[in-house]
Symmetry: C2
Subunit: 256 residues, 2 copies
C-alpha cells in the first residue's frame, strides 16, 4: 500500500517568517505523497482587531458571525494559504491551496445551536478521498485551509485538527496514512515539565495504563482520544510532535 | 476541436449579492468547458480603507506595497474567490479556486520599476495550458483570482483582464476558445450614448474602418487591441458584453 503523510501545523508556525521557512523547507524535503493542513487563528484575530472586530472564543472555538466568516475566509483561504502555497512552489513542491469548497473536497453543515451559537462553524459530513487521491496521483500537494462549505453556498469555519483527521481518514481507504499533529511540545511527555521526557510509542494498552497512572491528563487526553478515533477509522498511525521534527525522528508515535 | 469559454467578470458584479447570484446562475447554466476569471478591486479598496490603508492607483493600476499585497491576496484569493466557488458548488458546478501559485498555473515576475514603482505587481511569463486542460478533463471548473506568483515565494497582483487573456491563449493550443469580457456596457457601441447601438460583429477589416471613422476611440480602443492580441495568439473569438448576457446572444463578437 502506498504511503501518504498528512501534517497539521498551527497558525503560529506560519505567522513567523523564520519558523514558516523552516517548516516549508522540512515539508518540501519529505519524500512521497503529502498533504499540509494549516490553521491561522492568530492572524485572523489580529486582522479582525485591525478591522475593529473582537474575536470571541468559547471553549477554544471561534464564534463566527457573518463578519468573522468573511475574515477567516480571507485570512485562512487567502493570506495564510497562498503564502504557504507560493512558498512551497518556490521549493519545487507543486502545491494546490484548497478549502473544502474547492472541488467539493470537504462538505459539512452549520453546527446546530445547542447551548452555544457558534455561528458559521461547520461540522464535517464527508471528505472526498477520491478527489485527494486524484490530486496526489498527479503529483499535486494539497494545502488545506481550515474551511469547509455547506453545499448551499456558504463557507464554514472548521477546526484545523478536525480537517486533518477527516482528510487522513478519507485517504486511509487508499493509502497507508500517517497523521502528524505539530504542537509546541516535542511529544507526549511523561513529565509535563520536562521536554526530554517524550514517550516515544503509545499503544492502546499503554494509553489505558498511562491514563490510569495519571500520566495523561488535561489537554493531552482529548488529543489522544482524537488520535485513536482516527486510528479506529483506518489511519495507520498518528504522530504527535513539534513542527521542527516533521520527519518523525522524535515525538510520540501512537498506534493500535 | 473541443470548445471552452473563458469568462472575465469585474469585482463590481461579484460584490452585489443580487448580481452575483444572477452571474453564478448564468455561468452554471453554460454547457461544456468553462473557466471563470474574476476581479475584486472594489472589495480590496473597501477592506484596505477599513484597515486604514489608502489605495493608490496609477493609470488605473493598483500600487501594491507589502501591506496591499497581503490585502489583495486575502480579498481576491480568499474572500471573493471562495464566495464564488461555494456559490458555484451549490449550483452543481465543481469549481476550484486558483491563483497563479496553485499548481503553478500562472507564473510571472515583478514588474521592473521604470517611471512608476507599482510594487508587487506581476507581469505574466507563462500560463500552463496543460494544467488547465487536465482540470477541465476531470470536470473541474477553474475559478481564477487575479493573482500570480514569481516562483520565488511571492504572490503578485495582476490585472484580471490580463489573466483571462493569458488563460485563453494557453488553452487555445488544445481548444476552440471563446474569451468573454463582461463590462457595464452591452457591447461595443456605434453611439457611446445609446446602449441599443451595439455593433454585433467586428472583423479586423471592420475594426480598422471603425477606428478610421472615429467610432472606436477612448477606452474601447485598448480593449479591442487586447482582443486582437488574444486572437493573434490563437483564441478563436472574443466577446465583449455585459454580465447579464453570458450566453453571448447579445454583445459584440470580435473575430479575424
Amino acid at each position: 500500500m502506498k504511503k501518504v503523510v498528512v501534517i497539521k501545523v498551527g497558525g503560529a508556525i506560519l505567522e513567523n517568517e523564520e519558523s514558516l521557512c523552516r517548516l516549508l523547507d522540512d515539508f518540501a524535503a519529505l519524500p512521497g505523497n503529502k498533504v499540509l493542513v494549516h490553521g491561522g487563528g492568530r492572524a485572523a484575530t489580529r486582522i479582525a482587531a485591525d478591522l475593529g472586530i473582537e474575536s470571541q472564543m468559547i471553549n477554544g472555538r471561534r464564534v463566527t458571525d457573518e463578519k468573522m466568516l468573511d475574515i477567516v475566509t480571507m485570512v485562512y483561504g487567502g493570506l495564510v494559504n497562498k503564502h504557504a502555497v507560493a512558498g512551497l512552489q518556490s521549493r519545487g513542491v507543486n502545491a494546490l491551496g484548497l478549502t473544502g469548497a474547492d472541488m467539493n473536497v470537504i462538505q459539512g453543515h452549520k453546527r446546530p445551536v445547542k447551548d452555544v451559537d457558534y455561528g458559521w462553524v461547520g461540522d464535517v459530513d464527508c471528505a472526498d478521498g477520491h478527489a485527494f487521491k486524484t490530486l496526489l496521483e498527479q503529483g499535486v500537494v494539497p494545502v488545506m485551509a481550515p474551511l469547509i462549505h455547506d453545499g448551499k453556498g456558504h463557507m464554514l469555519n472548521t477546526n484545523a485538527d478536525t480537517i486533518a483527521s477527516q482528510v487522513a481518514c478519507a485517504l486511509s481507504e487508499f493509502y497507508d496514512v500517517t497523521l502528524t499533529f505539530c504542537f509546541e511540545k516535542p511529544g507526549v511527555l511523561s513529565d509535563a515539565d520536562d521536554d526530554n521526557s517524550v514517550i516515544s510509542h503509545i499503544t492502546k494498552e499503554k494509553f489505558q495504563q498511562l491514563v490510569a497512572d495519571g500520566v495523561i491528563s488535561g489537554g493531552m487526553f482529548p488529543k489522544l482520544e482524537n488520535a485513536y478515533d482516527a486510528i479506529n477509522k483506518g489511519v495507520a498511525r498518528v504522530m504527535i510532535t513539534r513542527a521542527d521534527n516533521l520527519d518523525g525522528s522524535n515525538g510520540t508515535l501512537i498506534s493500535e
